[in-house]
Symmetry: D2
Subunit: 322 residues, 4 copies
């Protein structure tokens, strides 16, 4: 570094800042030139808290056009109300919300108080399967369906109209476990796969999806155990924007200490594929919900590892929004 | 307990519940018969987080009629905006908010993001001293002034119109330190008094107040180190009401772990004097901000000890509001 | 307070300190004049963490003579090794440790690493039932048996030699649930009783105990939900004594956030009965493990409520030991 | 993956495990063939808690031969006693501990209780400067001096015998700030350098070191803000080894929530240079303690960025030791 640069630290700082801002916005700008990617998010928001963090990332991403959000699994109507409020509080009251078929579950709807206050609650919600099929017909080959809950809606779509379903551009899903199970964080030897929540709660639908022929991008437990630790929480929960305020409240209703942002990797992958490099595998879903990599023609691009710190360096500034 | 009762556990539970509900509402009912007590809260809300918890208790207390809330110390206008939003979010947009004279301070306004979003912000705020004097003139001998910040507004009132000031029914204040200092929690020998924040940040005003002749009820450090620990926070922050949501957000912007609810004891005392038994003392404020109990005619009722658990058994169900 | 006292704050502080020290030691002194109470602690130390905090209080109490500690429930041998180390690390290697009969359980032995290091491990442990019977025979009518685990050892004693068992001075036990269940903390209406751990894990033994005729002092869930919150933990875990160091390590192996010091109330009650006032009841243990208060001649002194803050003001300074 | 492998998941798991164990031990084995690197650690252990985590890594690394540990800054004798106990408790009572010259400081010795218990305390400690010079003379060109405190001892060495000092193989130090300051974690634009603790507390010694001609490997704030968050703490503090037990106790005496393992990167770099890639820079220390990168011949290899997650995947399994 020469003396000239040294003689003006302020100028240098300014340059650094410009480089940062430019680098941050470059991707957006270049993508903004291309039309935004059309997405639908299919979510079981309200039990675990990562779904809310995934929706938050989508809302803060101009590269995406959110055609709608659909709810799946369990009390789908209350999940839809939770989304009504989340979207209303954060300035997106016009994003459609559709409810999937309700199902019985032992899972705890931790965030029901947020949903039940009636804030921004819509008069009614259309049916998820109808909504998605309608959207696909209007935008054939264009839509990325982001599946971050058990796959009941997807099974219903395939049952109802497999031909239209195949006109999805792709499905990007959180689900499955190839070589790591929950709590395999890379500090100790991996303990091998286990049936994962989104798969095991609707195994037949998962099997239909992997046999459907639609391009699948799969983010299993292996690459999605992203821990929102105390340092990162303090940053996000002090940001004081309507979006981070909503996440703060949902975090507290969830009631545990450390969220694992499984679902969020689907969005992060769409926005920046380097955050979760994939490789083609043939995935087979067995009757217990194991997702095995077997010999055969690839039916999914699967992300088997990720850099947690790189993920958060992408996620936090974007969602923080200060 | 006889066999009959035993034979119907459901009936017994129902009776218990009725007794509880009745006991809870009895005080309210009996007081509701008497007119509510007129109060004005004078607060430095926005730095430490206990002021917000104090305002929350007032809002949930039908025994009180909040004539207005005035801000004191430091950036009084931003404090007023914080109150605008807090009152707006929780359904009390019509409670008047008046701003005291701004002053310079090194104290950190931790909760400024909550205040600055512009939510429910009012076009302007009247002057605190004018507002309070006007209210006293309209309700002579009726108003309890609750002082939970440094005493600048009170000093200004006394300077401006001591005669009207004396027409307050009483001042209930958090401030001072008689025999205990901060962190003297009763587990180890008390380490003796220290100058306390609300006093030492405006010693002349404190001296004027104790010489004013207005009845003073004083809650010093000795009886107000009420720790909102993790168990209690989990309950309040999962309640999911607009009021507890606001407290949750302000807690996070405050950014520390354990709030000490100093200020809240003033309200709790007004609502239930048994929570902080007082005795008459002659209090003298020295030039360093010590509040000494000296010989002389009593000029304050001072609460020297309290039962923290009893306080929270009163506070939590009332503010939780589920 | 006159001017003379005021003129010498140092002298005053000194006097305060003397008063405190005197008050603290007075009970000990007066009791030291009387012979210490002979106790045996029967514990399932190693699963939940409150047992360790109970043993810690006993070790710091000159009013008590610990004849021995016996282990009960599950892996009693590893529990005995945990005690070997705890006693060894804290300077009490000569207190006898005896192991009860092992039993199968689904309970998690959270603190096994502390136990398994081999530190201070004794070559062998005598049998709990034999040990206790032998001690009763040597000290008839003298021994307080403190039962803070499931009651298997006690059932075995009664089966083996009911006559000797009746020569206990008394049993002080943590167990049962009269009107409150776990998480009934007094902030909301109590939800009524539930079968409590120490009872429901050996119902026949509990029934035998309440029918035994030995004086029973019972501390149920109603009076023992004593939360060691973050403020109290910070104090104890920074004390840096061998005893608090052991508690710190066991706390971390336990692996949760907030210990509830159920078991400790038995010891606290023996040392200071005012901390848990009892009343005589006839307790009946049903086949599901409910402990019902029924009509009939009293068979237990039961503590139905306690002041948590008073408990900790007793516990912390004594165990802290600085 | 072919059918054969699939048909035996157990075998496959076994193979995975073998690969992991082999990979883990390979580095050790290959290095064990070469003689271990001789190191001396110069530390201000006892104030911040990262020094203890650095010493812990050294103790668990067969690639290193610890010739001794020297204390610097403030109460060097109590720091030496802390090391006496730490080394004694963990089975290394024969590693020499030498104390540097004491100095006055406002820094808080948070972990003094651990040090003062007298456990494993040695009768006396030799003088740090004498000890280091003596070791260099015995092992010329062999020793890596790891500097993780203010640089007083190093300044004394250079003053006393610059010729011998130059016979160090190298100095690996934590210190300085090139482009990032404390709390610049990569989520938001870096705010530029600031004077860093180890430099600013003895600027003249830092200037001497950078002018000394000894090879310097420098780990500044830019690459050392390694957060031991709640997930990582839970793993380490439940390991239950003598070493992790010591870290647990020191963590609690330190008394804050999230340790930043600044100092540990020096050791990690020595053991695995890929964890902190360096580049040659000319570093100049100004009168305020800024460490500026200027034009001129390189006098240090400086690590300007690191992968926090890679660091912990190295650190945790090695120190956990289960």
């Amino acid at each position: 570094m020469n003396d000239r640069a040294r003689s003006s630290p302020l100028l240098r700082r300014l340059l650094q800042l410009l480089v940062f801002v430019f680098a941050s916005s470059a991707a957006l700008t270049s993508q903004a030139a291309t039309p935004p990617e059309q997405i639908i998010i299919d979510t079981d928001i309200g039990d675990d808290v990562d779904d809310a963090f995934a929706v938050a990332l989508a809302l803060r991403s101009p590269e995406l056009q959110i055609l709608g959000i659909t709810t799946t699994f369990g009390d789908t109507e209350t999940r839809a109300k939770l989304l009504d409020r989340l979207l209303g509080e954060t300035g997106y009251p016009n994003i459609p919300v559709a409810a999937g078929a309700a199902s019985s579950t032992n899972s705890t709807f931790t965030q029901h108080r947020y949903a039940e206050g009636g804030k921004f609650a819509r008069a009614s919600h259309s049916r998820a399967a109808d909504f998605i099929l309608d959207q696909i017909r209007r935008n054939p080959g264009q839509i990325t369906l982001i599946a971050i809950g058990p796959l009941g809606n997807i099974g219903a779509l395939i049952d109802k109209d497999p031909k239209t379903f195949r006109k999805l551009r792709r499905v990007v899903m959180m689900g499955g476990s190839i070589a790591r199970r929950y709590r395999d964080l890379g500090y100790f030897p991996d303990r091998g796969p286990e049936p994962e929540w989104n798969i095991k709660n609707d195994i037949p639908s998962a099997q239909k999806l992997f046999a459907s022929g639609v391009p699948i991008f799969m983010m299993p437990l292996d690459s999605t155990q992203l821990k929102l630790d105390e340092v990162k929480r303090a940053i996000l929960f002090q940001a004081g924007t309507p979006l981070t305020d909503a996440l703060t409240l949902l975090y507290h209703e969830w009631g545990q200490e450390t969220p694992t942002l499984f679902d969020v990797m689907t969005l992060a992958y769409i926005l920046n594929p380097k955050l979760c490099p994939t490789k083609p595998l043939h995935i087979s879903v067995d009757e217990k919900g194991f997702t095995r990599s077997e010999s055969g023609p690839p039916n999914a691009e699967v992300c088997l590892d990720s850099d947690s710190e790189a993920f958060f360096r992408f996620y936090i500034p974007r969602v923080d929004g200060r």
